[in-house]
């Protein structure tokens, strides 16, 4: 059982991703509520996802397709046969007291995700399974006198991705999760506003002889890093205190930022898997895989190369843009109309700044690419200053409008007329003779004050660099 580890820290994860199909994995119930409707518990259910006697499962082809897409994107070998198994355990969130999952033969095997360092994290297997119902403890899990069950989640397709225990720091685990999320976004098989991504992480340290703990149900990428960091400290402290570590399963509390023991694992759980005899074997034809391959979008790695070589932008910019599906998409559309360097810089810095400032994520962004092209092309042609551009960006994220019309209407074009600017500079110098004197004495920051005065007066319409040059000449 024990592998030969040498690293200080050993981390492996099992990630569960809810796939963004319209219907559930084994019945035709909707996976999400209708936009206009109220979310009523147990409203999206049928005899199959409720596990009623006599009901039978039917496989959702779309989920298979999504699973294969992901397996291909993660460089997995696709197995030629799909079989489902029953994993039997009694738990109130399981409608049948068994979960339909894949055991003997997973959908895909032996893939990897490549981290920025170039390190390959091996993916042992990826398989499909059904999500259980959700349990609601009205007064909290410890205090509630009763538990409610909502079967709306029961049967939503999950894709489980299991890594080899090959990560050696919480940061690597976080990066792995991030990379996985980006691939899911590119494949459009995951909706980050609705679908949930959860991880179980196994972690052990050298000092204990690699006695591992499994931390269950971590949501969020920062959380996985925090949970693992905490757990390493806890294990190290335990060894220092001469405590003996044992195999256990732990819960991560995102509020208190600690892990607590759920149960010990003296023996491995025995789920008594059998092939699910209600579901026939599905042959994965070469033709089917080929069709999926043909519809596969470009993935982040390919995008980065394209951005560097075709659009000639810097590698760092390319990586940042490719790491966010929406940004990459916007960039590609804009880069054919505007200088790719300007597009890259403005998307990467300014759009990202505004999105973060408004506490949004990119998938919530509703911005018309036409408007961005207008904006960037005015910047490229120096028709407006960067200050004006930033201000337009601030507003554009909140409501759509044409930046071009806005600039014209508000008379925001950069003042190019040097005689006009000279007159203004002279006025400012006359108003602030002491500052001018300070500059003459060698205090170079004084110049910024003078430029700032003009920028304020002109609502940012002047080119600050040009103004500086003018001041320098005029004062000397």
């Amino acid at each position: 059982m024990k592998m030969k580890f040498t690293a200080d820290i050993i981390i492996g994860t099992e990630v569960h991703v809810q796939l963004n199909t319209n219907t559930k994995l084994f019945c035709s119930c909707a996976t999400k509520k209708n936009e206009k409707e109220e979310d009523i518990p147990n409203s999206r259910t049928c005899p199959t996802c409720l596990g009623m006697p006599g009901s039978k499962p039917l496989v959702n082809q779309k989920a298979i397709e999504y699973g294969i897409k992901l397996a291909l994107a993660l460089h997995c070998t696709i197995n030629p046969e799909i079989r489902f198994s029953r994993k039997v355990y009694f738990y109130p969130d399981l409608a049948k007291n068994y979960q339909i999952t894949q055991f003997e033969v997973p959908l895909g095997e032996n893939g990897c995700i490549i981290l920025d360092s170039g390190k390959k994290v091996k993916i042992e297997r990826i398989h499909l399974e059904e999500d259980p119902a959700s349990l609601i403890h009205p007064a909290g899990i410890d205090k509630s006198q009763y538990t409610l069950i909502d079967y709306n989640r029961s049967g939503i397709p999950l894709c489980e991705i299991v890594t080899a225990p090959e990560m050696h720091s919480p940061e690597e685990a976080r990066e792995f999760m991030n990379k996985l999320k980006i691939i899911l976004q590119y494949l459009k098989i995951f909706d980050e506003n609705i679908c949930v991504i959860k991880a179980d992480a196994n972690i052990s340290i050298k000092e204990s002889g690699y006695i591992r703990s499994e931390i269950k149900n971590i949501t969020g990428f920062k959380e996985i890093e925090d949970a693992l960091t905490y757990e390493i400290q806890r294990q190290k402290q335990a060894i220092k205190n001469n405590e003996k570590l044992i195999l256990d399963t732990r819960a991560w509390n995102a509020q208190t930022k600690i892990t607590t023991r759920l149960r010990t694992k003296e023996t491995e759980a025995d789920y008594g898997y059998i092939i699910d005899p209600d579901l026939v074997k599905i042959n994965v034809e070469e033709k089917f895989i080929k069709e999926i391959k043909e519809t596969m979008p470009e993935l982040p790695e390919q995008k980065i190369q394209k951005f560097i070589h075709t659009h000639k932008i810097a590698e760092t910019d390319a990586k940042v843009l490719a790491a966010e599906y929406i940004l990459a998409e916007l960039f590609e559309q804009i880069a054919v109309e505007v200088s790719p360097q300007i597009a890259a810089k403005w998307l990467r810095r300014e759009l990202t700044r505004v999105v973060n400032y408004n506490k949004m994520n990119f998938s919530q962004l509703k911005i018309d690419v036409k408007h961005l092209i207008e904006l960037f092309s005015m910047i490229e042609k120096k028709e407006i200053t960067e200050t004006v551009g930033q201000d337009i960006m601030n507003q554009l994220i909140l409501k759509p409008f044409s930046p071009k019309e806005y600039v014209e209407k508000n008379n925001l074009k950069t003042v190019q007329d040097t005689t006009e600017l000279k007159t203004i500079c002279r006025e400012v110098m006359q108003k602030h003779p002491t500052v001018v004197q300070e500059f003459k004495n060698g205090k170079s920051e004084s110049l910024n004050f003078l430029v700032g005065q003009i920028m304020r007066a002109m609502k940012g319409k002047a080119d600050a660099k040009l103004l500086k040059e003018m001041f320098e000449k005029m004062i000397k």
């Binding site: 005899p47 409720l50 596990g51 009623m52 006697p53 006599g54 009901s55 039978k56 499962p57 039917l58 496989v59 029953r86 039997v88 009694f90 738990y91 109130p92 409608a95 049948k96 007291n97 068994y98 491995e268 025995d270 008594g272 898997y273 059998i274 092939i275 699910d276 005899p277 209600d278 579901l279 026939v280």
Partner: protein, 465 residues
């Protein structure tokens, strides 16, 4: 009057089907009082359906009273598969077979008694034990015992739907002296059937005559998009086989199943029939099935109980059926429900099935059994290259008395499936053909054909008197 005439009379309204239904219900209630063939008589539903039929007398089963094994879901009619744990459970939907029969004008008479979840060959593993129509001290066989009992007893136009996992159609058909046809696995949709062993379960028709059996098969056979294991193979008009000549047909007599442990009266009665068949130009040769007959019982019980133990996990008192006071934690709660409401046999099969699929044992039992199953299918298919059908006894014994049955150990009970387990494991269609009586005990023989060759069974059976 034949069933065929009754259907015609219903369609052309020369009988009052509502009045007829009332009478049939009265007769059923009287029989049930004495013989325990029903868990539920669906009187209200039957009368409503008869009223509808009177207004619109249509369908290939117009006016036929249909009794249904309790394990098959009927919307709003209590469906328990003979188990206490499902007391009060009324399904929200009709099984596909039920919907098809209703659409053809059948009138639902009720749910018939059976061994709990199909666990047994004598219909004694339930609270409501049916009695043999020829002698109330004897068993009906099982697990579809109520179905065959009422089929033998009913004097009105009647058909029944049974279900077989390891022999539960032909076994009670034999003991009650009726026809029982277990179709090819996948031929008839399992949608709406309460599962015993999903890779083995088959719903099939049972009737007093082979014509009626073929008629009901015509209605229920065929692909169902609601069920993954349902076959897309085209169906046939099975009644066409009734008049097909049999000359030149080749039958293999499974010699291994006529030896030790088989009542000689059965052997003698069947060999008499074989002579009859030969005289009609059917070629009969003795064959052996060494792998099948050596391994089928353990293979069957490993696969069936492994699957059953997972199917029965869902019965935990949480959302339907029997329940207990909500006390303690979830484990304590469902344990109490299952402890109180499963019978001894159900518990035995859950334990057996769970054992065979546990880590450390699955390789030796469950996975090995799956491999042997393939070997058994191969042995059958090899024989079907040469023979149109195989012939054997249906059961090794004549209908025993309840008192005799009590002396048997669970293993002896399981061994009684020696003839029926093989075709069930291999998914081959098989049929019990009644061939008369020995005093108060029915006689019969079993025919088995290759996958999707139900027609051949009907063709041959029609020539057996």
């Amino acid at each position: 009057m034949t069933l065929h005439h009754h259907i015609k009379n219903t369609q052309n309204q020369s009988i009052d089907i509502l009045e007829y239904t009332h009478k049939a219900l009265e007769e059923t209630k009287a029989i049930n009082k004495e013989y325990n063939y029903f868990t539920t008589i669906s009187e209200e539903l039957a009368i409503q359906q008869a009223k509808n039929l009177k207004a619109n007398p249509k369908g290939k089963l117009a006016g036929v009273l249909l009794s249904v094994k309790d394990a098959i879901c009927i919307q709003k009619v209590e469906t328990t598969a003979g188990s206490k744990i499902l007391k009060g459970y009324k399904p929200l939907f009709n099984a596909t077979v039920i919907q098809r029969c209703i659409d053809e004008g059948a009138i639902i008479l009720g749910k018939t008694t059976q061994d709990e979840f199909g666990f047994g060959g004598f219909s004694v593993n339930t609270e409501n034990i049916p009695k043999n129509p020829f002698n109330k001290d004897r068993v009906t066989g099982g697990s579809s015992g109520g179905s065959t009992g009422i089929t033998q007893k009913a004097n009105f136009a009647h058909l029944t739907l049974g279900e077989s996992t390891g022999g539960s159609i032909v076994d009670p058909a034999f003991f009650c002296g009726v026809y029982g046809l277990c179709p090819t696995y996948g031929r008839v949709s399992r949608y709406g059937l309460l599962d015993y062993g999903n890779s083995l379960d088959k719903i099939g028709p049972m009737a007093k005559t082979i014509e009626d059996t073929a008629l009901l098969l015509n209605i229920i056979a065929g692909h169902d998009e609601k069920e993954s294991t349902s076959s897309t193979q085209k169906t046939e008009d099975y009644t066409k086989y009734l008049n097909k000549p049999v000359k030149g047909i080749k039958i293999g007599i499974i010699k291994d199943l006529f030896g030790e442990g088989v009542n000689p009266i059965i052997t003698k009665s069947i060999y008499k029939q074989i002579e009859q068949l030969k005289s009609q130009g059917i070629e009969c040769e003795e064959i052996t099935m060494p792998i099948t007959n050596k391994y089928s019982i353990p293979t069957y019980y490993i696969i069936a109980t492994a699957e059953a133990s997972t199917n029965l996990a869902k019965y935990c008192g949480l959302r339907y059926g029997a329940t207990e006071n909500l006390q303690g934690n979830y484990n304590e709660f469902f344990t109490k429900v299952r402890e109180t409401n499963f019978s001894k046999e159900a518990k035995r099969r859950i334990l057996l099935g769970t054992f065979t699929r546990m880590a450390g044992y699955r390789d030796a039992y469950y996975l090995k059994a799956m491999k042997i199953r393939t070997k058994i299918i191969e042995e059958y298919q090899h024989l079907f290259k040469k023979y149109d059908a195989l012939l054997s006894p249906t059961m090794p014994m004549l209908a025993p008395k309840f008192s005799e049955l009590e002396k048997l150990t669970p293993l002896q009970h399981y061994m009684a499936d020696i003839m029926t387990a093989p075709p069930n494991l291999a998914g081959m269609p098989h049929l019990n053909v009644p061939i008369g009586m020995h005093n108060d005990q029915a006689l019969g023989l079993m025919l088995t054909a290759n996958h999707f060759e139900e027609g051949k069974l009907i063709q041959i059976a029609n020539n057996i008197q």
